[in-house]
Symmetry: C2
Subunit: 391 residues, 2 copies
Amino acid sequence: MENFTFYSPTYFVFGKGEENKAGAMVKRFKGSRVLIHYGGGSVIRSGLLDRVKKSLESEGISYVELGGVKPNPRSGLVYEGIDLCRKEKVDFVLAVGGGSVIDSAKAIAAGTVYDGDFWDYYRTGKAIEKALPVGTVLTIAAAGSEGSGDSVITNEDGMYKRGASGEGIRPAFSILNPELTQTLPPYQTACGITDIMAHLMERYLTNTKNVVTTDRMIEGLLLAMIEEGPKAIDDPNDYDVRANIMWAGMMAHNNSCGVGRTQDWISHDIEHELSALYDCAHGAGLAVTFPAYLSHVYKHDTERLRQWAVRVWGCEDSGSDEDIIKEGINRYRTYLKRIGMPTTMGELGGKEEDIDKLAHSATCGDGRPGYLQGFVKLDENEVKEVYKKML
Amino acid sequence: MENFTFYSPTYFVFGKGEENKAGAMVKRFKGSRVLIHYGGGSVIRSGLLDRVKKSLESEGISYVELGGVKPNPRSGLVYEGIDLCRKEKVDFVLAVGGGSVIDSAKAIAAGTVYDGDFWDYYRTGKAIEKALPVGTVLTIAAAGSEGSGDSVITNEDGMYKRGASGEGIRPAFSILNPELTQTLPPYQTACGITDIMAHLMERYLTNTKNVVTTDRMIEGLLLAMIEEGPKAIDDPNDYDVRANIMWAGMMAHNNSCGVGRTQDWISHDIEHELSALYDCAHGAGLAVTFPAYLSHVYKHDTERLRQWAVRVWGCEDSGSDEDIIKEGINRYRTYLKRIGMPTTMGELGGKEEDIDKLAHSATCGDGRPGYLQGFVKLDENEVKEVYKKML
């Protein structure tokens, strides 16, 4: 195991009705002038935004608002948010929504107190150490952004989708009420489940040896998702199922199961090109990408992938590595279809003739070195092969 | 799932040689005058204490020392530590040792800033909200105290062993270097493993339904311990094995796998009487207690215990609940013997004629209501039955 630090100081408030504690939590973390950041109309229609505002008001906390975050959040709105926070002397950013809203809020929080262009962090990978404190009221179990120090933004100048990280943008608090996820359409629920599983898989694909404890944690969380996913699709109002998925979504990405081991994240890089170009949901893009990627790279460590197929997908532990792993990937794809996810590029609106462009952007765009490096190293041609496997 | 809050802001520094960052970490958390608290001579002989002191000195941090913590740490030394901290105007308590040292340090940290008797917290269960900040340099993977807001102390006035909890005593930082555990005698290593598994089991024994995610996390961590435990006994110097156990020990008790569900803790209460009376190691006491306890209570929820036997101990999932569960308990006991643990009271120095006294103290001592309540409710007579099963 490699040396590491782990610091996850987010205060989680989990359960029914807990959004009514938003004001008390902002106060606890010394906020007095808040930017409420959100997406489209659903948080207005559901009354959630009003409940959050009321909670702030009852603590005597003033606020300004900025809505309009779209899936695959864009740099334009981030710049707008930064200007607003500076003008209004905001000292706390409260995201009400899913991963896109939270990621956008983190970028605004970092950019507000940064002298240069916030995009510097996303372009260079420089750690974000300073930002306004961020709080979240989560409405979708998916991105894990509620418990992570990560943010992904798409720059409209070139449509590059890039991530940034740092202790500065780990939320001070996150309110997780599983009831809020019960009104999600099944497709969005499934996208969230796929994303959560992908976060676990990106950590599972490691080149570090003998990482038994984190392996077992990841496998356990994957098994929970396999069990709960179809239940959430079949009965959207099962609170316990929603609660299990919501906690798993946080645990999958706060990195307690990813410490001390190399991680992969190539599938995320390959997917980001799909959602940037076709504006598809990130989770749907991952459902298409991940099985194709696994089919391409499994030979790199058949022992690990065999373990995954046996322990996670229940494949019988006899026969050749190749057969068992292929059966595992089949079961993964069958599961994704079962919860309503696409598994081909065409279903996302993707076209074969875009593959050259996608592979070039993934490996060479915006300062990339000509390859992707993680579990394996893939040059532009190999990334093309992965995209072709999605057809 | 029940509503909960989860707040685990400890900064973990994990890996080889990391004790040399003790000074930097104390500084990060604003300590300037430190009490170094430790146990016996091993941290002196190994040179660890000197390395920690050098690290403090290099940051210009002054310190006083208090050694002598014994397993099952006593109130007498806590009072001494509180006096010393007040006299020396200590603003940070640094524990260098295992769970006993950390628990003693937490009690001192709480007592120093409390107007009354520190034992109030342990007697009444009142949450500890205020304490001096505590840091740890962990030398034994076992108690999980390095990442928890819990502390257990034995009051020499009556030999009551009681726990207290609260956000105030969660460590600000914990340094976990698995190398430090390589010099532990096999018996102590095994006691630690048993304790870690017991922390997982106490959470597994819940009356909350449909807690799939935390169930799977616990099962995964138990499987990791089952895999790594014997390896640690057979080759004490396998760094990766030590590292896996050390991280599992933290995860088992920081409560991320215990949220939103009722927990048990009756085995701990029953065991505490054994270690208080016979001064045996807590882990050894648990090895004797837990299988006996399970044999007594499994009928309360055969579905849960069957799941445990099948998923954790690999029992075949066919036949009667009773047979499968008994086989699971057998495998648990066999495993404990394999790593060198006792499984009968006699091996701890216990005697049948003490059972009345043990059961009375567990259920009625120091203000207890006449029964133990957790996964089940056990009155004094039933607790006697559990002790008898240990003979």
